[in-house]
């Protein structure tokens, strides 16, 4: 198909495009879901990440 000799290779090509499409569809469908305000532990983690990890490097 499309000049490709092996169906298995064509399938890989098609599945690559299809899975990228799946990612787009999933992301668009869930675009506005899952918005949570940051909790104290998130901010505490971020502070520690800056001070202990990033400043070290």
């Amino acid at each position: 198909m499309f000049g490709i000799a092996d169906k298995a290779v064509f399938l890989a090509y098609a599945l690559s495009v299809a899975s990228a499409l799946l990612c787009v569809l999933y992301g668009v469908a869930h675009w506005n879901q899952g918005d949570e305000p940051p909790q104290t532990e998130d901010l505490q983690w971020a502070k520690e990440e800056k001070e202990e990890v990033e400043e070290t490097l």
Binding site: L15, S16, A20, C23, W31, D35, L43
Partner: protein, 632 residues
């Protein structure tokens, strides 16, 4: 360098410097955003993740493997998107983020260590990362050097040192912090470059179907050595099967390529990506589930155009080199002889003036030439001569023309490489040959930037592995002067190790080294990681046992069973006098099975059986790990 190339180069550097300076004022790492309680643009987050994931290893290394072995590598693209983006972001991302923040873990080993109340887990995990990440870093650096070489026509070793110097300067200038804006910018330019690469390739070769058709028609030109191990053409999968136990000679080998391609390259990287330490910590830097959902869009598209393009353009480069390449040059010597050594497998060398007859008879004929723009004292360029080649001497001062008519891997054979060529040089040669110089340079610069973001995340992981996971866990010191020093020294040691390895093991190594590291991480860490996030009954003993079994099984298989690694490392031969320990009564195909497909099931089984057979962690602790209050 001609005026147009110089102009475009200057515009590019100026634009990057300007945007970098504008961005510098607002220089923000992910942690900066989190501290401020703000959301990063999800496209920026996804592109930054993509730039960390994709590097010269993927484009140059795996692209070169695809050019050699064919479009079957697109199965890896499928896994990269479906597993590396979709499954990783949708199912693992948010639990990793919540658990990481809740347990206050800043590295992958720390996440496992706190979840399973095991300092041993954190220390051993840290050691594995620190000792083996240089392999992957080496692959990325070699990829950069293999690209710099052909574009600027300088020797590999010089290119290696130049790139290493650029990386070191980047590290010292504080580039380690993983500034997302810069990452995303470079990723965008890379994306544009890859789209141009794909469109131009299809256009030159006659369109979508015609290009594939031409490649299919070239199947008879697969080198005999590759045919013998199962290569059936660049638009077909290799031959699948399992050699009869005890077989030898030609009957022993016809399925080797399938098993190497599928188990090492496709599965090793495709599955191993889930347990890559430098990618896992990325999920902890995201502000909410919504960011992950939105990032999936950009992530999927980005990976498709990075690896998808590389694994299509790579194989198609065979059609370009065989049917389209025309080198306009000045012929210097159309009977240059290069010596491949007594077994034909050595690096090609020039013949000494007093060469023996037997050396002359085994030497191969090359054409030596110079491109316009090459300096007179610059090293000559070489291309392998075959009867298919046409040579046209230019009249009236016009340039000479060579139409080599070679397949891609053969086109890379030159002074210093093996006669069979260097897959890692195919993509650089293709870009240098088929595209205007300005495109090659811009593509190179963005490729190097993608490599830089990967390298910075690797060094980040190496540094925190030895400083925080090993040293701080063992000594109990937190963020002391000593631990900072050890972290920074660890990074330097890792860089030095990567460069040293790069000089030792060059040629056809990028994809293999990457796959080895991904497979090792997958077998060692994946069961414990999944258990940490999803299985409350997993115990400390189960996690630790699965880590050790996964690591040791991978090591054993790599050292004593898998032919490529066992022969390359040489320990089996040194200790037992044999290349591998596979009994003669077993199928020889076992030597081409990747450690991952044996070690991962073993470590998974170990995790389950040992967990069920040992005392569970306290309910209070498990509750805490899954979102509850911290026990007193």
């Amino acid at each position: 360098m001609d005026a147009l190339t110089l102009l475009i180069l200057l515009i590019y550097l100026f634009a990057v410097a300007y945007l970098g300076y504008r961005g510098y004022r607002a220089t923000k790492t992910a942690a900066d955003y989190l501290v401020a309680g703000r959301n990063i643009n999800p496209i920026v987050m996804a592109l930054s993740y993509g730039a960390t994931f994709i590097s010269t290893s993927a484009i140059v290394g795996f692209g070169g493997v695809a050019a050699n072995l064919g479009m079957g590598l697109l199965w890896l693209t499928f896994l990269n998107i479906f597993v590396g983006i979709y499954i990783a972001f949708v199912f693992l991302g948010n639990p990793t983020r919540r658990t990481g923040h809740h347990l206050d873990a800043h590295t992958f080993p720390e996440l496992l260590g706190k979840r399973f109340q095991s300092r041993a887990l954190q220390v051993i995990g840290g050691l594995i990362i620190f000792l083996f990440m240089p392999l992957y870093a080496m692959a990325v650096i070699i990829g950069g050097a293999e690209f710099i070489g052909p574009i600027f026509h300088i020797p590999f070793n010089a290119a290696l040192y130049i790139f290493a110097f650029i990386v070191a300067a980047y590290v010292v200038a504080g580039g380690m912090k993983g500034v997302m804006f810069t990452d995303a910018l470079q990723a965008t330019i890379m994306l544009i470059g890859m789209v141009i690469l794909l469109a131009a390739t299809y256009a030159t070769l006659g369109g979508f179907t015609q290009a594939h058709q031409s490649l299919t028609e070239m199947a008879p030109r697969v080198p005999a050595a590759l045919k013998a191990i199962g290569h059936r053409g660049w638009t077909a999968m290799p031959l699948f099967g399992w050699a009869k136990p005890g077989s030898s000679g030609p009957e022993a080998i016809p399925f080797n390529l399938w098993w190497t391609m599928v188990t090492t390259i496709i599965l090793g990287v495709g599955i191993g990506v889930l347990a890559q330490p430098q990618l896992v910590v990325r999920f902890m830097t995201v502000s909410s589930r919504q960011s992950l959902n939105r990032a999936v869009v950009a992530g999927g598209i980005f990976i498709l155009f990075m690896t998808g393009v590389a694994f299509v353009v790579g194989p198609l480069s065979n059609v370009y080199f065989a049917r389209h390449e025309t080198i306009r040059c000045r012929l210097v010597d159309d009977q240059a002889l290069l010596d491949p050594g007594p077994d034909g497998k050595g690096r090609l060398t020039l013949l000494p003036p007093d060469a023996l007859a037997e050396v002359i008879s085994r030497a191969k004929r090359f054409i030596a030439y110079r491109l316009p723009g090459d300096a007179e004292d610059q090293a000559l360029r070489y291309v392998l001569w075959t009867p298919e080649m046409t040579l046209t001497r230019g009249t009236d001062g016009r340039l000479d023309e060579i139409r080599p008519g070679l397949i891609a891997i053969a086109r890379t054979a030159t002074l210093g490489t093996p006669l069979s060529g260097n897959a890692d040089a195919i993509i650089p040669h293709y870009v240098a040959s088929a595209f205007p110089k300005w495109f090659g340079i811009v593509f190179l610069l963005t490729l190097l930037a993608a490599a830089m973001s990967t390298l910075s995340s690797q060094f980040h992981a190496m540094g925190t592995a030895i400083g925080r996971d090993v040293f701080e866990t063992l000594t109990g010191e937190r963020h002391s002067t000593r631990s900072i020093a050890i972290t920074r020294l660890g990074i330097l040691a890792g860089l030095a190790a990567a460069i040293l390895l790069g000089k030792m093991v060059r040629f056809n190594i990028i994809a293999l080294a990457t796959a080895i590291f991904f497979g090792l991480c997958g077998a060692s860490f994946l069961p414990a990681f999944l258990g940490a996030l999803f299985w409350k009954r997993m115990t400390r003993a189960g996690a630790l046992a699965s880590l050790l079994v996964g690591f040791l099984a991978s090591a054993f298989w790599s050292l004593f069973i898998n032919s490529k690694t066992a022969t390359g490392l040489g320990l089996c031969k040194a200790l037992f006098g044999k290349e591998t320990l596979i009994p003669a009564s077993f199928s020889p195909t076992w030597a081409f099975v990747d450690p991952l497909v044996v070690a991962l099931p073993l470590s998974l089984l170990t995790a389950i059986l040992v967990s069920l057979g040992t005392r569970p962690l306290s309910d209070d602790h498990v509750n805490w790990c899954f979102g509850g209050p911290k026990p007193r």
